[in-house]
């Protein structure tokens, strides 16, 4: 698959800080991937999101070296408005990024900034709202929406720009479990049905692991692991050292593995776990 994002030896220091937020970071994302990026607070997740959409180095002051290339364009040499057509960004707090009063206006905002004619705008709004499953909310006031719905509006607003990749920085941190799962399902659909490349920066490993094809772990601004989530979740020591969530289903099967009672791949979801437990019991003639 074609490379869409290439981060090459990228280092970034905020202001005069002696400690780099990103340190000689390398990362490649290919078109069509759904990549999860995790790490504790301060590992560099948000900084990386800002480096991908060009806010770093265009608007955020600091010292940097290395290169970030998105769809063949060097972000340092490309205006943010141009990058915004390639990279759609969604942030943590839906309240902080929504600017309009109703849903349609919100989704139209970016398009208006691109001076798109109205007859082109309307179908794009329709399309974006349909993609995230909130077409019926089109004329609702943002104030009436739940957190999960607001976050879907933010995703629709990013999609209306028809980006090639969606970068989401902890989009579910303010949401309850149902809202979190709703957002994950929308992302899965966008990735599978609409072939959108997705980079999800997220701490909730249990919620994210079943959806992503690859998990990148950041620590002190560096990539310390990059593998399918099942492989990362086998590495208890890594999870502990980075202070990452240890999803309960995987944790249980890993304990069985260590005790020599289980040898297959770690299940990531409750459904997979039930199947594996059933298989295990059946093998031993229980139930």
């Amino acid at each position: 698959m074609e490379t869409l994002i290439e981060v090459q030896n990228f280092t970034f220091y905020y202001g005069e800080s002696p400690v780099p937020a990103l340190a000689d970071l390398n990362l490649t994302v290919r078109r069509g991937e759904f990549v999860g990026i995790t790490g504790p607070t301060g590992a560099g997740k948000t900084t990386l999101a800002l480096a991908l959409n060009g806010v770093i180095p265009h608007f955020q002051g600091g010292r940097w070296s290395g290169r970030v290339v998105v769809a063949g364009m060097d972000t340092a040499e490309t205006p943010c408005s141009r990058l915004a057509r390639i990279i759609g960004s969604v942030f943590q707090d839906p309240e902080a990024q929504l600017v309009a009063t109703d849903v349609e206006e919100e989704v139209a905002f970016g398009l208006e900034n691109q001076a798109l004619p109205r007859e082109e705008m309307l179908p794009r709004i329709e399309e974006a709202l349909t993609m995230v499953g909130i077409r019926d909310l089109r004329h609702r006031s943002l104030k009436e929406l739940s957190g999960g719905q607001k976050q879907r509006v933010a995703i629709a607003a990013a999609l209306a720009m028809r980006p090639a990749v969606l970068v989401l920085d902890e989009p579910t941190s303010e949401l309850d479990p149902q809202g979190t799962q709703d957002v994950m399902e929308v992302l899965r659909l966008l990735n599978r049905e609409h072939h959108l490349t997705i980079v999800l920066l997220e701490q909730k490993l249990a919620a994210m692991a079943p959806y992503i094809s690859r998990l990148v772990c950041l620590h002190e601004g560096r990539v310390v692991a990059d593998a399918p989530p099942r492989e990362i979740l086998r590495r208890e020591k890594l999870l502990r050292e980075l202070g990452l969530e240890d999803p309960p289903v995987a944790a249980f099967f890993r304990q069985l593995q260590r005790a020599g009672l289980y040898s297959r791949d770690l299940p990531l979801t409750v459904e997979e776990g039930r199947e594996e437990l059933g298989r295990l019991f059946a093998k031993e003639g229980i139930l």
Binding site: P40, T41, G42, S146, G147, S173, E174, D176, P177, Q178, G179, Q203, A206, G243, L244, E245, P247, P248, V249, A251, F252, Q255, L256, A259, L261, V270, G273, R274, L277, G278, L280, F281, E284, I286, L287
Partner: protein
């Protein structure tokens, strides 16, 4: 310790946020109040410090009727830790911040010092007493807020979504501190929508949905009522969902955490003796 008797509350705009709620939380219990956003959790919490008074029914805290008690009186009984510690922090050093409450209680010199030192030690902040709270990371700032609450000497601690916005390590740290406070005899009320947290730390749960108390009881009981939880928009913790089919067959009952489940499954697969050899003491 805390008793709600047919508590109802209607906002001035006519929205009935709490409907006929009755429960009893005993001294030294660790209770979780769970429910989705908008279920009435926050409205109920605002009754605990007297910010809201029941429209009908009553709420008794350590014998005080919250409708009549003075706020200062309640503040000595119930300490609050809110989701965003920054709303609770406003002084230049950690020590001053922690001393603020006791000073307001009218305490003097030595006693204030004693309380500050003790509260700081309980949350592991002793080495940061002279630091500015604003120079500390969010996890530590939350501990400053908790120490400030502890310095007031409340028996009851209410933690409102204490782990939201914290990373996993910070969440574990604040919960370890909470657990230690519970062991020392504090009554703990944890408000959260994180069921894994509830499974690991709480003893009983109260489920709110649409302003009603839908369910209350020990965790294994509450978490086996999938129907009511679904109505409340909640999912049981992963381990309980994993074992649900077996629970119905009478196998693996009462298991809440991955460690407990491992113990049970080892015993089932290998027998009591073998399991004891595999399992850490």
């Amino acid at each position: 310790m805390i008793r709600a008797e047919n508590l109802s509350f209607t906002y001035p705009n006519g929205l009935q946020a709490l409907k006929d709620i009755s429960f009893h939380i005993k001294k030294g219990e660790f209770a979780a109040i769970i429910g989705r956003n908008g279920s009435g959790k926050t409205t109920l919490l605002k009754h605990f410090n007297g910010l809201l008074k029941p429209t009908s029914g009553r709420l008794l805290i350590a014998g005080l009727d919250t409708a009549r008690a003075r706020t200062a009186e309640l503040a000595r009984k119930v300490g609050f830790l809110f989701q965003n510690p920054d709303h609770q922090i406003f002084l230049p050093t950690v020590a001053q911040e922690i001393a603020f409450g006791p000073r307001n209680l009218g305490l003097k010199g030595r006693e204030i010092e004693r309380r500050v030192a003790e509260a700081a030690a309980q949350v592991g902040l002793t080495e940061y007493l002279d630091a500015s709270p604003w120079k500390l990371g969010k996890g530590l700032r939350q501990r400053v807020a908790l120490a400030s609450v502890l310095a007031m000497g409340p028996d009851i601690l209410v933690l409102d979504e204490p782990t939201t916005g914290q990373d996993y390590r910070q969440a574990r740290e604040i919960m370890a501190i909470t657990k230690a406070l519970h062991r020392k005899g504090h009554t703990i009320i944890l408000v959260t929508h994180d069921m894994e947290l509830v499974a690991r730390y709480a003893e009983k749960a109260l489920v709110l949905g649409g302003g009603r108390l839908l369910l209350q009881g020990p965790l294994t009981e509450v978490f086996s009522r999938d129907d009511v939880l679904a109505e409340a928009g909640l999912l049981p913790p992963a381990v309980l969902r994993l074992t649900a089919p077996y629970r119905k067959a009478g196998l693996i009952p009462g298991v809440l955490t991955p460690e407990d489940l491992f113990r049970e499954v080892c015993t089932i697969l290998r027998g009591e003796d073998h399991a004891a050899r595999i399992l850490p003491a």
